[in-house]
């Protein structure tokens, strides 16, 4: 049975953390079509979180058509795992090359994180303006 975890210091709302974990597990093949997700009560007791948070996460997964409820049986994964696209490997290679270059240029962890955050922000602003 799939088990969730919760990172209290991430700043990401708990319900979104649950949604992200299912998406990620689907991408990595840890979750497959037809798998049953744990019951709301089990997740609430396991993680010691509000059951409404779990309900909200499951509704979001249903909204994204990644999971669906079957009356009296539980919530099941309905999406097939997305196959890893060949571009993904290329992107990973170029990211590793970039990180190596940053390291050689003397940038530390914090500087790298800051650069990535700034670049992401610029991109999202660009998208905002394009809209």
């Amino acid at each position: 049975m799939f088990r969730f975890r919760l990172d209290g210091s991430s700043g990401v709302p708990p319900y979104l953390q649950l949604v992200h974990q299912v998406r990620q597990a689907l991408l990595l093949g840890y979750l497959q079509e037809g798998d049953r997700l744990p019951t709301v009560k089990d997740v609430a007791a396991d993680l010691v979180i509000n059951p409404n948070t779990v309900v909200k996460a499951y509704r979001q997964l249903e909204h994204e058509r990644l999971a669906g409820g079957r009356p009296g049986q539980g919530t099941f994964i309905t999406a097939a795992a997305a196959p890893v696209r060949p571009e993904a490997q290329d992107l990973r290679d170029s990211l590793e090359a970039w990180l190596r270059a940053a390291n050689e240029a003397g940038l530390d962890e914090a500087a790298v994180t800051a650069l990535i955050a700034v670049a992401r922000r610029d991109l999202s602003k660009e998208r905002e303006r394009a809209r």
Binding site: L6, G8, G11, P13, P14, Y15, T39, V40, K41, A44, A45, L47, V48, I49, N50, P51, N52, T53, V54, K56, R59, Q60, H63, R121, E128
Partner: protein
């Protein structure tokens, strides 16, 4: 125009009868108001946290909700029906777990349940017995021989067996050690998943509350400072880093808290994210705010300027952009 001190109150999405509604509720002790102008709503099925420092008016509010204290002004409605203090009907509709889990120390758990059955209009003996069995608490054991955690569990069991649709807990874990605290909250969250009950949990411990509650009420100095769905409240606030010279009036939304450094200022604003995107400048940085930062900022805000009449609460001026509703 400064709006500092005005409470921020958000309404829920659905229009069903709220589990709890207070309307301009106030209680005066002699010349001092313990609580004033308290207008809050908790939707059915919510797990609501009532946060505030000691002396903020939490206990005064809780006692008026459970019907142990008569309001000086305003009223309390539980599931649409007005509550009157010290009436059996009011007391039957609200379950209560007190801070120190008062139980008779020389009674056995079975004796406590017997008392519960005799003293309440409705009582689910089967639920009570099944719960303590599941928790491994022997029915024949005397209360004095139970651990603090087990006493808390018995108190919660008695409140649940009462079958009241609204359950009020006053600092339920403050007397427990960290392990017992976690076990109690685990049990409470499982009970919440099993039932359609509405919970109101008072606490002065802010850390970790985000895990437990979906509705938040922040009380300080006898006034409501912040109230509404926790996710919406978080979404409506941003932590801006701006040049020091930026005036409050140039910032989008309402300034909740401002900390000035030599060259830059960190400002917590209550704002519409869309408005921020439009009004934001290139040199500004906007970050999401954590649950604890949000609560602490509102707890430290100055009280409303005119004590008798703080004016209408700040209402959400923009439509809710929630993709998922409760």
């Amino acid at each position: 125009m400064t709006e500092i001190g005005r409470p921020v109150i958000r309404q829920g999405a659905d229009g069903g009868v709220p589990a709890l509604r207070t309307d301009r509720l106030g209680r005066r002790y002699g010349k001092v108001w313990g609580l004033r102008n308290c207008t809050i709503e908790v939707p059915a099925g919510a797990v609501a946290a009532l946060v505030g420092p000691n002396g903020a008016g939490k206990t005064t509010l809780l006692q008026m909700i459970i019907g142990l204290l008569e309001p000086t002004e305003g009223q309390v409605k539980v599931f649409g029906r007005a509550s009157r203090a010290n009436t059996t009907q009011t007391l039957a509709r609200v379950g209560y777990v007190a801070q120190d889990h008062p139980l008779y120390r020389d009674f056995t758990v079975a004796d406590m349940f017997h008392l519960g059955r005799a003293m309440n209009l409705s009582w689910d003996q089967q639920l009570a017995v099944a719960r303590v069995a599941e928790l491994g608490i022997p029915l024949g054991r005397k209360v004095r021989h139970l651990s603090g955690g087990q006493q808390a569990q018995v108190s919660l069991t008695m409140a649940l067996a009462k079958k009241a649709p609204l359950l009020v807990l006053d600092e339920p874990v403050s007397s427990l050690d960290p392990v017992a605290r976690l076990e109690f909250m685990r049990d409470l969250m499982a009970a919440a998943a099993d039932s359609a009950l509405t919970f109101l949990i008072a606490s002065h411990v802010v850390a970790e509350l985000e895990r437990f509650c979906d509705w938040l009420i922040v009380l300080s100095r006898g006034h409501v400072q912040l109230a509404g769905p926790a996710d919406d409240l978080l979404g409506d606030h941003r932590l801006l880093t701006v040049p020091r010279a930026t005036a409050d009036s140039e910032l989008p939304g309402t300034v909740v808290e401002r900390i000035d450094s030599d060259r830059h200022s960190t400002v917590l604003v209550c704002t519409d994210p869309v408005q921020l995107a439009v009004q934001g400048h290139a040199g500004w940085q906007a970050d999401p705010v954590s649950f604890e930062q949000l609560v602490m900022a509102y707890l430290q805000r100055p009280a409303p300027t005119v004590d008798g009449d703080p004016g209408p609460a700040a209402q959400r001026p923009w439509p809710s952009a929630k993709a998922v509703t409760r």
